[in-house]
Amino acid sequence: MINSLYITEGGERQQSMDIEEQYDKIFRFCYYRVHNTDIAQDLTQETFLRFMNSDYKERGEQMRYLYTIARNLCIDESRKARTTDLPEDYSDEGSGSDDLIRKIEVNQALDKMPEEDRELLILRYMNEVPLSDICKIMGVSRFALYRKLNSVKRDFIKLMEGGSFHE
């Protein structure tokens, strides 16, 4: 987008991350930490505002920076209020019932996973963040990430099968 180009002090034209592309991804990321769409939306917007107002915009580091801001905001939020920690009702959309059941199953399986594993699944499979960026966001080596991803994926599938998936 034209307006996602900004000029650094050196006058160099750089491509920044694009809000159209990242908004929903950051929203999901926040949602699975706070389990509330309104709070997740607020945190998403706060993330972008902080990102915009910072001058930390090195090329290749933007993803990491964006997710780090989001994660910190989510952690602050969950410290603030643990009372609203009830998972949301997922049945708000009136799509076909099979889809709906699947949706609930996926979300229930995700809810059962440890925080860090869930975050990894969301980054990799929901948001399709490149592996190199995930390494930076999670602060792990590529090798460790591969191993971790495989085991987390296995856990997730097992949880899904524990539901009515693949009967």
Binding site: M1, D18, I19, E20, E21
Partner: protein, 232 residues
């Protein structure tokens, strides 16, 4: 957020299509009611800056409608529109995303999002000429929303939609009206009865009635029929 229409007139050789109209629109849905030939389309084209008024001014927050600044916040669905024959639904939205200044990545994200909003995700790769009238109309609505417009002008948007699509469309417009100026023309009262915050009625280029319309004001349909008794 204020769209100001100040004494605009459009005169063709022997006919005055729009006759010294003035009104101001703010956030919310405004329904423009009138029979065919009342001047609704002419008025809307002028508001979109693609037809020059014979006299009068149209400004949005101080910007003239001929400026890029205004077109950047404008969304428009004309009464009738075409498409390049080689386009699929997705191509169509990608094309207009580019024209509205979105780069490739943003365009792709926004296109997929909108295809979902109007329920065309499954047929996005198919050529538009294989679409039904309702599907094409939904594509047109998606097109108008690409740039998240502050001013949304819809000329007979429900034409060709089936009853189910109409309901979905009404809900969508009601949502959008919360944060945008929406002007919607129609000759079907029920399209706007429950979602319009304000109603403007036009006949032969003039406003014959305008004002807010709420549930407590009774049936808009009855009022409209009374006003337009001799035509309907």
């Amino acid at each position: 957020m204020e769209l100001k229409i100040d004494r605009i007139t459009k005169q063709y050789k022997n006919k005055i299509a729009v006759d010294r109209l003035s009104f101001t629109l703010g956030k919310g849905v405004t329904g423009l009611l009138g029979a065919n030939g009342a001047g609704k389309t002419t008025l809307m084209r002028m508001i979109c800056g693609i037809l020059m008024p014979t006299s009068g001014d149209i400004t949005y927050d101080g910007a003239s409608v001929s400026e890029e600044r205004y077109r950047d916040v404008l969304g428009y669905l004309p009464q009738d529109f075409g498409y390049y024959p080689e386009f699929s639904g997705r191509d169509f939205l990608m094309y207009f995303s580019a024209l509205k200044g979105l780069d490739k990545k943003a365009a792709r994200a926004r296109t997929e999002e909108l295809l979902g909003v109007v329920g065309l995700s499954d047929v996005a790769g198919k050529k538009i000429r294989t679409y039904s009238g309702g599907m094409k109309q939904r594509l047109g609505i998606a097109q108008a929303l690409i740039n998240r417009p502050e001013v949304l002008i819809l000329d007979e948007p429900t034409a060709g939609l089936d009853p189910k699509e109409r309901v979905r469309f009404r809900n969508l417009i009601e949502e959008i009206g919360k944060e945008s100026i929406v002007l919607l023309s129609t000759h079907i009262v029920s399209d706007i009865e429950h979602i319009a915050d304000k109603v403007i009625m036009m006949r032969s280029g003039q406003i014959i009635w305008q004002g807010p319309w709420g549930e407590e004001d009774g049936s808009l349909e009855d009022f409209y029929l009374k006003e337009f008794g001799e035509e309907n």
